[in-house]
């Protein structure tokens, strides 16, 4: 039997290659995702090990909250440093200041990295604790000098000795570049940019005057890090902690790994979708192979092969295909990793250069996933093969079509279970459940699709059936509803997901417009990408003629406390802007209480007040990043608006925020002021802040929409992989159809059908299959998209956007894909030798 299996494998090379390609692509995405994230993980592992090489103890503040730039920790008093230095066994201790600083290049643009952070540090000379090496120039001294890393220098036209403006928490200021820093001979750690100031300057511009973010300690030889840590601990203030260097490195690495883990899951999701689609192709291929080989299998049964042997022979074939595809997929995965990196680079997320890591886990998983998916997909066809009656060897090859009844019943049940799981997950959360529900729903729909494939293809086919080749193509497409449906179902999955994402994206965009209109009454919005801008920006804007009022908007993390010590706190985001701006530049729709943000009060969105179980007049305990626990009175609640956020305090509270930067500024104009003129004046006076855009409402909405578009595009490109796999399936089905219908083709050619007409016939069949899959996908995807929008209403997706035009374009693309998929099979069909075709058994 084994020999027979391999014979049949090698006898059908083309089909094998086509169907295994679908698994190859899926597996290569799996292995690519792991290779990419492992490689990036390695970079960061190395990085943190290098940084912490000589760090025995790391002293830092307790975590207070999480802001929009990550964890916010308490600051260390500056005079802790000399105390630590006194501890027995401390060889050296260095206080570190870290914040965000962005250089402005010679063209007046803020130098960004697209993804990696823009750091500002204090520079200290140390062979032990300073990870950087000053390779050119000297350390920065005084308030006007900086050193920068080589990676940052390379992104600009500056050279050593030039003067460059730097954006920090303070008003824009120019500094002379006096030093260039490298890390172990590399221009940067991991693609970030670094600006180094002298310590007091760093403390001032990064808003930590008199404090340190961290103190790193090197030990005398012979002193263990745990021992040293325990010696230091008694010195620390209540809100500070000391950990060993080893633990510090591990923590930092695991933070990054967590981020990479999300990234990995994100990529794997697409890989699994691709494999799921691939499973359809495999299922379809093996079903067709079994159908074509009915006589051969029956002969084996006649010659004494047991059912089990026949089933195992088919499954073995699948396993061999799976193993081979997995192997090729694994190798291709390395290329996919590079491709993904380039893709994210195109969209502005530069990932650091990394060595290629193919972990054992990647190899095992790739093989396991590829082989299992293939074997599982071939299971049903194998079972069917084992049921071939020995007598079938004597009958004509054609077996009557089985009834769709059983399939319909099972499909309906699977669909209902899937839909129920999806509904539950959308109501109560749970991404895994959503994924599983979607998977089941797809299988259910695929099982039910043969019921509609015939009528749909007949109706759509009318478009093509004016001439005979088109009519024959249509007939061929509806001839085997199961096969047409299974082939189309693979395409349906990709298109459904793409449509759902598109509908959701479009709803997001519609909601953004509504949200902005409902929250902002200012004439101009000063907007920024990145870590924000100093108050100086809004102050400058306030000076312009025609400007009536301004407001700076700050956002930070805040702890919502249960008790006086705030030991159990809920982490939320809080927005601060001037109380007087409410009703002037910002509009909140009061739901209960007042919208008067008097001192000692807070406003909350209806949703937040409901989930926190408070009503106007109640008090709430909160803790800001740089304050103790305090009690505020809830003045009122307002209709939930994503742009405003759930918690609102007056600007005076922002002094306790971890960041003093504005995330946005609002500008209102005098009555009768010419917006164009004011804007021009603003553009001019804010020119030195290249990270600030002056936008009117519609431009602001436009910018938000562009971001949504980018995300939708990335997701749809990644989903495109599954569409590509589905097209391989269409090619495969057509190729098999051509082989099956060789005699028909021969007859048609004999009685005078031209090659061109044969091609058109195959093309029509292909276009019909693809249009059917596309239509099904659009319908299913639209339902998914609308369901998602409904479920996310509470999260701000209040409007339903239904992009009819885009969806129609998708449908046209599906049809076009059909034309492309038909190219090779049609060519093959038209080149058939007429005589041989007629003589074919």
């Amino acid at each position: 039997m084994i020999r027979a299996t391999f014979r049949s494998l090698t006898a059908r090379k083309l089909r094998l290659v086509l169907s295994s390609l679908s698994i190859v692509l899926g597996v290569s995405f799996v292995s690519g995702a792991f290779v990419l994230t492992d490689s990036l993980g390695k970079v960061f592992d190395d990085l943190f090990t290098t940084i912490s090489k000589n760090v025995a103890v790391d002293i830092r503040g307790d975590k207070v909250t999480s802001g929009n730039q990550g964890d916010v920790r308490a600051l260390l008093p500056q005079d802790l440093l000399p105390q630590v230095e006194q501890v027995d066994g401390v060889k050296e201790a260095q206080g570190q200041v870290q914040g965000s600083a962005q250089l402005v290049d010679t063209k007046g643009k803020a130098v960004g990295t697209g993804g990696a952070p823009t750091f500002g540090f204090n520079w200290f000379d140390s062979t032990l604790l300073q990870p950087g090496t000053m390779v050119e120039g000297h350390a920065p001294h005084g308030p006007d000098e900086i050193a920068i890393n080589r990676g940052l220098l390379n992104r600009t036209d500056y050279k050593l000795g030039d003067t460059a403006p730097v954006l920090t928490d303070q008003p824009l200021k120019s500094y002379k570049i006096v030093g260039i820093v490298e890390f172990d001979g590399k221009p940067s750690f991991a693609g970030e940019t670094d600006v180094f100031f002298e310590t007091p300057v760093a403390q001032q511009v990064l808003n930590v005057t008199g404090k340190f973010n961290e103190i790193t300690v090197a030990a005398d030889s012979g002193v263990g890090e745990v021992e040293l840590r325990d010696r230091i601990r008694p010195l620390l203030p209540a809100d500070a902690q000391a950990i060993t260097g080893t633990r510090s490195a591990a923590e930092q690495a695991s933070d990054v790994k967590k981020g990479l883990g999300f990234f990995n899951t994100f990529l794997l999701t697409f890989a699994l979708i691709a494999l799921f689609v691939g499973a359809f192709i495999i299922f379809n291929t093996f079903s067709m192979l079994v159908a074509q080989r009915t006589r051969e299998l029956a002969l084996m049964r006649m010659l004494g092969a047991s059912r089990g042997q026949v089933r195992r022979a088919v499954l073995l074939e699948a396993v061999v295909v799976g193993l081979l595809s997995s192997f090729i997929g694994l190798i291709c995965g390395i290329g996919v990793a590079l491709g993904l990196k380039a893709l994210f680079g195109v969209f502005g997320a530069q990932l650091p250069d990394a060595p290629t890591i193919v972990a054992t886990r990647t190899v095992i998983l790739s093989f396991a996933v590829g082989t299992l998916v293939t074997a599982a997909a071939a299971f049903m066809p194998a079972r069917r093969a084992s049921r071939v009656a020995p007598l079938a060897a004597l009958r004509d090859a054609a077996t009557p079509d089985r009834s769709l009844k059983r399939q319909t019943i099972i499909g309906t049940i699977v669909l209902i279970v899937g839909a129920a799981a999806m509904t539950k997950s959308l109501r109560d959360g749970g991404l895994q459940l959503l994924g599983l529900g979607t998977l089941l729903a797809f299988i259910g729909i695929a099982m039910l699709s043969p019921l509609v494939s015939k009528p749909v293809a007949s109706v759509v086919g009318r478009l093509f059936s004016r001439k005979l080749p088109g009519r024959l193509g249509r007939e061929n497409a509806v001839r085997n509803p199961r096969r047409t449906a299974a082939t189309a179902a693979a395409l349906m999955i990709g298109l459904a997901l793409i449509s759902a994402v598109t509908v959701l994206g479009s709803s997001l965009k519609a909601s953004v417009a509504k949200t902005v209109a409902g929250a902002v009454t200012a004439d101009f919005i000063l907007n920024t990408q990145g870590p924000g801008f100093p108050d100086a920006v809004v102050q400058t804007a306030a000076q312009e003629d025609g400007v009536r009022s301004t407001a700076s908007v700050k956002v930070d993390g805040m702890q919502l406390c249960d008790n006086a010590s705030c030991s159990h706190a809920k982490q939320v985001f809080v927005t601060a802007f001037p109380a007087k701006a409410i009703g002037d530049l910002v509009s909140v729709t009061t739901a209960a209480g007042s919208d008067n943000l008097a001192p000692g009060t807070i406003l909350m969105s209806e949703n937040a007040a409901k989930s926190d179980k408070v009503k106007p007049g109640d008090t709430v305990r909160v803790q800001f990043a740089r304050s103790g626990v305090e009690t505020l009175t809830l003045a009122g609640t307002y209709k939930t608006n994503q742009l405003i956020g759930d918690y609102l305090v007056d600007s005076s509270k922002a002094k306790d925020f971890s960041t003093q930067r504005d995330v946005a500024g609002l500008v209102g104009l005098d009555k009768g002021a010419d917006p164009a003129a004011v804007r021009k004046a603003l553009d001019t006076s804010l020119k030195e802040y290249p990270n600030v855009d002056v936008l009117d409402q519609s431009e602001f909405v436009g910018q938000a929409k562009t971001q949504v578009n980018q995300i939708v595009t990335i997701i749809n490109i990644l989903l495109g992989l599954s569409v590509l796999i589905a097209l391989l399936g269409v090619i495969n089905t057509l190729a098999l159809s051509v082989i099956e219908r060789t005699r028909e083709l021969g007859l048609l050619r004999a009685v005078g059908m031209a090659r061109r007409q044969v091609k058109r016939m195959i093309r029509t069949e292909s276009v019909l299959i693809c249009t059917f899959g596309g239509l099904l996908g659009l319908v299913v995807g639209s339902v998914f998209g609308i369901a998602l929008q409904q479920a996310l209403k509470g999260q701000g997706v209040t409007e339903l956007g239904f992009p009819v035009g885009t969806l129609v374009v998708y449908l046209l693309f599906s049809a076009l894909a059909g034309v492309i998929a038909a190219a090779l099979p049609a060519r093959r069909a038209s080149r058939l030798n007429v005589l041989q075709a007629i003589a074919t058994e």
């Binding site: 001439k467 005979l468 080749p469 024959l472 007939e475 061929n476 001839r479 005699r743 028909e744 007859l747 048609l748 050619r749 004999a750 009685v751 005078g752 059908m753 031209a754 090659r755 007409q757 007429v834 005589l835 007629i838």
Partner: protein
Amino acid sequence: MTSPATSASPTTSAARAVDLTKVYGSGDTQVVALDAVSCAFERGQYTAIMGPSGSGKSTLMHCLAGLDDATSGAVFIGDTDITTLDDKRLTRLRRDAVGFIFQAFNLLPTLTAIENITLPMDIAGRKPDKEWLDTVIDRIGLRDRLSHRPTELSGGQQQRVACARALASRPEIIFADEPTGNLDSASGAEVLGFLRRSVTDMHQTIVMVTHDPGAAAYADRVLFLADGRIVDEMADPTAELVLDRMKKFEVVHVADDVR
């Protein structure tokens, strides 16, 4: 399209072969299937081609019908030398000037009987001649089954539909390859009778390859092929005469085997 040489000598034949040679393979494996065969098929005549298996009778028919290309020599359908045509012209010629009836699998399963009959015209995008079509359909006697799919017809009915298709476009010549090979004798007789009448009553030209002397008896004349050459010809054949003639081949073959 037509070379001057052929148009200068118009003929009454619907098809003819001149020194037609067909060689398969090369070197040691070379097989001469047709060895300089020359023959002509008059309009309105029913010709049967007979011969033992391997005699080249099918190859001759395929070459005459433009399904296979000749190694050398010329084949004319009407006045056209089809050996000079490219695939496109050859396809058009098959569509418009030649009718086919194969041993089996003559009909497209997705089309109804009437759609199968008008298939060549549909391919050409032409309207069939209604009157002629009616005549043909009445002759095959399947008017009540026209909307049936081939799977709903008996083997004999299927072959009659195939005959109707071959006639429907009023071709120059019809080639039939063992048209009764898969039929029981009663159905076979029906088909053969129909072909005979279409020659007698409708002045069609038919060339039929068969190995059944009974079938050959329906023809106006029989060509006997052996080893790629025409070895004999018989006018107004009867089953007995043909059978006797065929027996001679067997004797030769037995002699070959003994030697």
